[in-house]
């Protein structure tokens, strides 16, 4: 061989890449990254991140990069199916779309004409909730929600009732400027790519990054400091930080006075705000020594002191209530250290570091801005302490109040929407407390009629609850009842159990989309599957009809009567809407579309098209013209362009107006989708530099937001340390006011509806014998997987085919367990067998596993002996949807404020299995039958061989 390389083989270094590139939005998880899909010979050659896209800026995670294998999954459904065997057997016949839609119309039409509540319409990881919720409203049923109730509704609500925004969806850390970053309970939880990019930025900038998480996986592994906290005690830890900051008077008083309700006066007797006749909250103005409107920019309010009101009642400022509470010795680091599993000295040090970063390392951006009162500020001064939190907080029954505690800490540090802190993502902030109210009171539910409002909303007091005259829930999931008064996303995890029981009433049809409720998305999975197949004395199913739409043969398909097969995410139109879950950032609002990049090769239809078709067949008013014809004959893309929620405001905010020149508000533009396609499948509006921070109090931003249709008024959005709606519910539980809580719920509401953040032990731990169940058990989401979708993916499953029970090596040794042993995990509710893997980086009292790797044999196109089915397991079998009985009643296993599913409250014990029991998991449910799906599993997959250079 020649030494100069002249005889090196000739290689084509500029091969053709693709025939065409189409931009769209990823749906391999919920994060909505922009992707460029390369097509060659009509097949998908390559998927990459879109460098122009505001969410991912060109990068793409493992899931997104594996989209090809989901798109060509052999588990794809191929035609509408009608069940022919017993439910749960997986025996179907293929039917035509006309037959399928005719049948659905018959079932749904009968319900609508008699009692619309008997339709329970629940969608899962649906990104079209502004359509699906509106459809439910037009149908007339209150029984609608998506997966938020078992994901993070308590955190969303905590944010919206406190700061007018929330972690992830409605806010993000200022990665560029933060000097100190705290991450609570986040694995691959949202926001997938932005967090990774952000952590890299922080580290390059020399900021300190503290991770609070019982398990040291991915993100925690690169933290400067990992605090392996005991699950469910984050609130206590945060309150100890607050205690330290208050003791040292290291808080941002100026921020509190200017931007929060710290000076608002709270009446001593009923705990409500003192208001004037116009409803303005009052403070005590030190200049005049008299009451004044707390909203008046000219006041100098007192922060502590007792004041007598003109009517002789007494009041004191929110700040005093707050400070008095957290200065109490109960919240001292020494008092909480053992419970949290974090040394007191560490808590004191973290508090000192927070104060140092906030007050000694302030970030100054030389950018003048004008506040809500018209006062010019020469520069933007920031507190560079940023925080982010997710499911380690939300999946606990104390998550609402814990998340409020984190927001309180942020407010005390003055670290909300300032340079270097957590920032709002437009269209947030929104006014606190949030609106609108939910719809679904008895009088709003009438045969043949729409409800007149969206099913989901925000309750501000007992008058907004959806209960009948006897105080009983009007919704099947008991959302907005006395059991979960602020259940802003519903309680999807309770729907099947309640419907099966007929509590509060029986339903006729359960209609679900994209939610694997017969398996990993339910608590108590095996029993849930049994409820779906259970029959009454008359031999008919207790839930008479089940309609399900999914793109793949998931476990839940086997339990439905009628299957409406969906397309993959690369075969349809979608909109990522400002009315739902947009792609806005702190730099400005944005939204996006999906466009079909390939045509379906099966007899499947996009679910949203099907829903609109059904609406026309059912003659739902919003979807039909007076003559009964379709209002959106072009289906979902027609609706996306032409539907107006209010004049000028539709599903997409970009390129509105006849010529596409209007942003936010403007008449429909027939060319809107073409404009999105030409723009890379997204639209974004760049805020001006003077609008980028202090958005809650920034005149420039607030006025721009009104013009864009994001806000109704340009008023300052005051942040709430003290939440009056909570106090209103509490009063109802104390027998104060015209609407009072039923006696059986009073103690629970009084305890948990504290207007200031509180900590209480998680419910399961409180109700079971912790000597019998000494360990906490939680799950994390692996980075390359999203719920149940990943296991059908030939590439992703090579990374993880079996989940283990991970436990601390020291704890395992005490239990006589070693790597690869099989063990029984037992809770108060059930037991599961799993294979053990020991590790160092986990809290000693915590065991954990990857979520949703275990699969039911027969589902997802996998062989019956796949490790996912034989060895993979779900902790779900151990989690009851109901708490143990207390005072003769079993509440749902949820946050008592928001109804958020309390997955991570689980307590277990672990014991070595008999060697004869080793080798496979338990319980093993019978293999599901297999309807025809898109492909036979090949022995060897040679994807891409056709493009090998000739």
């Amino acid at each position: 061989m020649a030494m100069d390389g002249s005889l090196d083989p000739q290689i084509d270094t500029s091969p053709k890449v693709s025939d065409e590139v189409k931009c769209t939005t990823c749906y391999m998880c919920a994060c909505r990254c922009g992707i460029r899909v390369h097509l060659r010979d009509g097949r998908i050659r390559y998927i990459e991140g879109n460098k122009d896209h505001p969410v991912n800026r060109g990068v793409l995670c493992a899931k997104g990069s594996a989209g090809i294998m989901n798109h060509y999954s052999p588990a794809r459904l191929t035609a509408p199916l009608l069940r022919v065997g017993e439910r749960g057997k997986g025996e179907f016949k293929e039917i035509t779309w006309d037959e399928a839609l005719g049948l659905a119309t018959k079932w749904l039409g009968d319900i609508r004409a008699s009692d619309p509540r008997k339709l329970a319409f629940f969608t899962g990881r649906d990104q079209s909730q502004s359509l699906t919720g509106w459809w439910a409203n037009q149908f007339g049923t209150p029984n609608f929600a998506a997966h938020g109730g078992f994901c993070s509704v308590n955190m969303a609500a905590a944010g919206l009732y406190s700061i007018g925004g929330s972690f992830w969806e409605f806010g993000e850390p200022d990665w560029e400027h933060a000097r100190y970053f705290m991450l609570f309970g986040v694995a691959e939880d949202h926001d997938s790519n932005p967090i990774k990019a952000g952590l890299a930025k922080l580290k390059a900038n020399g900021a300190k990054y503290v991770s609070v998480n019982p398990v040291k996986t991915g993100y925690q592994a690169v933290a400067d400091e990992w605090l392996g906290i005991r699950p469910g005690t984050d609130g206590l830890f945060v309150m100890a930080l607050i205690h330290e900051l208050l003791k040292a008077d290291r808080i941002d008083l100026e921020f509190l006075v200017r931007y929060t309700n710290a000076p608002w006066l709270v009446r001593e007797d009923d705990g409500l705000f003192v208001r004037d006749a116009a409803g303005n909250p009052q403070c005590w103005d030190a200049r005049t020594n008299a009451l004044a409107s707390a909203l008046d920019p000219g006041v100098t309010p007192k922060l502590v002191g007792g004041f007598t009101l003109p009517d002789g009642r007494h009041a004191s400022p929110v700040f005093e209530h707050m400070a008095a509470r957290y200065l109490a010795p109960d919240y001292a680091p020494d008092a909480v250290a053992a419970q949290c599993g974090i040394p007191a000295a560490t808590i004191r040090r973290i508090a000192a570091e927070l104060a140092h970063a906030a007050f000694e390392q302030q970030v100054v951006i030389e950018q003048p801005w004008t506040d809500w009162a018209g006062r010019r500020h020469e520069r933007m001064v920031g507190r560079p302490v940023a925080m982010h939190a997710m499911r380690g907080i939300s999946a606990h029954s104390n998550g609402f109040q814990t998340c409020r505690a984190i927001h309180l800490l942020q407010m005390l540090l003055g670290a909300i929407d300032t340079p270097g802190s957590w920032r709002y993502k437009a269209p947030f902030p929104r006014p606190v407390p949030p609106g609108p109210r939910p719809t679904g009171k008895s009088a709003q539910i009438n045969p043949g009629k729409p409800m007149g409002g969206m099913p989901l909303g925000f309750t501000l007091g007992p008058e907004d609850l959806l209960v009948d005259e006897n105080g009983q829930p009007t919704r099947i999931d008991k959302a907005y009842s006395w059991e979960a008064p602020v259940a802003a996303h519903g309680l999807m995890h309770m729907v099947i159990a309640n419907a099966w029981k007929g509590d509060p009433y029986p339903i006729d049809t359960l209609f679900m989309y994209m939610a694997n409720m017969a398996w990993n998305s339910s608590m108590n999975s095996a029993e849930t599957a049994r409820m779906l197949t259970d029959k009454g004395a008359d031999g008919t199913y207790r839930i008479p009809h089940i309609i399900y739409s999914d793109a793949f043969y998931s476990e839940t398909v086997a339990y439905a009567d009628l299957i409406l097969p969906d397309t993959t995410y690369l075969e349809r139109w979608d909109c990522i809407s400002l009315l739902d879950r947009p792609i806005g950032s702190a730099e400005g609002p944005g939204d996006a579309i999906r466009q079909p990049v390939v045509k379906p090769d099966r007899d499947v239809r996009p679910f949203q098209d099907v829903l609109i078709d059904l609406a026309v067949r059912l003659k739902l008013p919003g979807f039909t013209n007076p003559d009964g014809s379709a209002r959106f004959p072009g289906g979902y893309p027609d609706y996306i362009v032409n539907h107006e929620r209010k004049p000028g405001v539709g599903p997409l905010a970009g390129f509105r107006g006849a010529d596409g020149s209007k942003a936010g508000v403007g008449e429909p533009n027939a060319q809107q989708l073409e404009r999105y396609v030409a723009n890379g499948a997204f639209w974004r509006h760049h805020l001006e530099p003077d609008q980028l921070y202090f958005k809650h109090a920034n005149k420039g931003y607030l006025e721009a937001a009104v013009k864009l249709g994001l806000l109704d008024k340009a008023d300052q959005i005051v942040l709430h340390l003290y939440s009056e709606p909570m106090q209103k519910f509490r009063n109802a539980a104390r027998g104060v006011g015209p609407i009072q809580a039923p006696p059986e719920h009073r103690a629970r509401i009084e305890r948990h509806f504290d207007p200031l953040p509180i900590w209480y032990p998680t419910f399961e731990g409180e109700q079971v014998d912790t000597a019998e169940f000494p360990l906490h058990a939680v799950t994390q989401r692996p980075m390359p997987m999203y719920h149940s979708w990943g296991s059908q993916n030939a590439w992703l499953r090579q990374i993880l085919t079996q989940n283990r029970l991970y436990m601390n090596a020291g704890t395992a040794a005490k239990l006589g367990l070693a790597d690869d042993d099989w063990a029984w995990i037992t809770s108060h509710h059930g037991r599961v067998k799993a294979q053990v893997r020991t590790m160092e980086g986990v809290n000693p009292d915590t065991v954990w596993t990857w979520n949703a790797i275990g699969k039911r044999a027969g589902a997802w196109g996998l062989d019956a002996d796949a490790p996912e089915a034989k060895k993979g397991f779900l902790l779900n079998h151990l989690i009851s949807e109901l708490l143990p009985e207390k005072n003769g009643y079993r509440y749902s296993n949820s946050d008592p404020v928001t109804g958020q599913a309390a997955w991570y409250d689980l307590r277990v014990r672990v014991e070595k299995a008999d060697p004869a029991e080793a080798g496979e998991t338990a319980p093993l449910l019978p293999e599901l039958g297999r309807p025809r799906t898109a492909g036979e599993a090949p022995g060897v997959l040679r994807y891409g061989a056709q493009w090998k250079a000739k």
């Binding site: 890449v17 890299a200 000076p263 400070a323 040090r349 570091e353 060897v940």
Partner: protein, 250 residues
Amino acid sequence: MTSLPAPAAGAKKLGLVIDLDTCVGCHACAVNCKEWNTGGHSAPLPDFDPYGADVSGVWFNRIHTFEAGEGSDSRTVHFPKSCLHCETPACVTVCPTGASYKRAADGIVLVNAETCIGCKLCSWACPYGAREFDADEGVMKKCTLCIDRIYNENLAENERVPACVSTCPASARHFGDLGDPASDVSKLVEARGGYALMPEMGYAPVNRYLPPRAAKTAPGCTGAPAELDRPAEAAGIHPLLRWMDKLLSR
């Protein structure tokens, strides 16, 4: 036996620099590599029993996650591993047919599938386990440093980097000429103390790993005191009183 190109001063040494400080072990690089390369120069990267009990496949880039140390001193490491494009690679010199070769132009180590006889001597010789045998075609495959991307005139200039570098969400992967001390990657290696993997084996790997930055954990590491002073407590004042006369205007 296959000979190596003669070492030349100033020769290009294209390679990767991998930052262990920010790698979170997400597998984005591995999967994006797989999807690019399964239709690229070495297509396909087959998968065996893809939906069955014993799935396996050809991957040019794999992530190993392990813990080092015990108890509170333990560290969790995510370690991406692919061909290091060694300067004196045994996988090349051991090849009986000349199929394995190191390009003189840029130092990339490749396999010529036309002449590879699938004898696996190269995979035995590679101490890093970076070679991937395609049992379907009976030939050896490996990381090509995306030879079909980095010079590809059908791609925009800023896309002419390996797929793993382009997709990494944590900016933990960098590509460039490690033979040029003035290149961005060389400067990065210099600044961060980048190191070669197992240099004692004598194969002179080109790729470099950046070690984790020192963790800021010890008291005082951010400049903050170990704990906050409590002025009111020290002065014996009721804690709420100190805010009594704080008068701040809105």
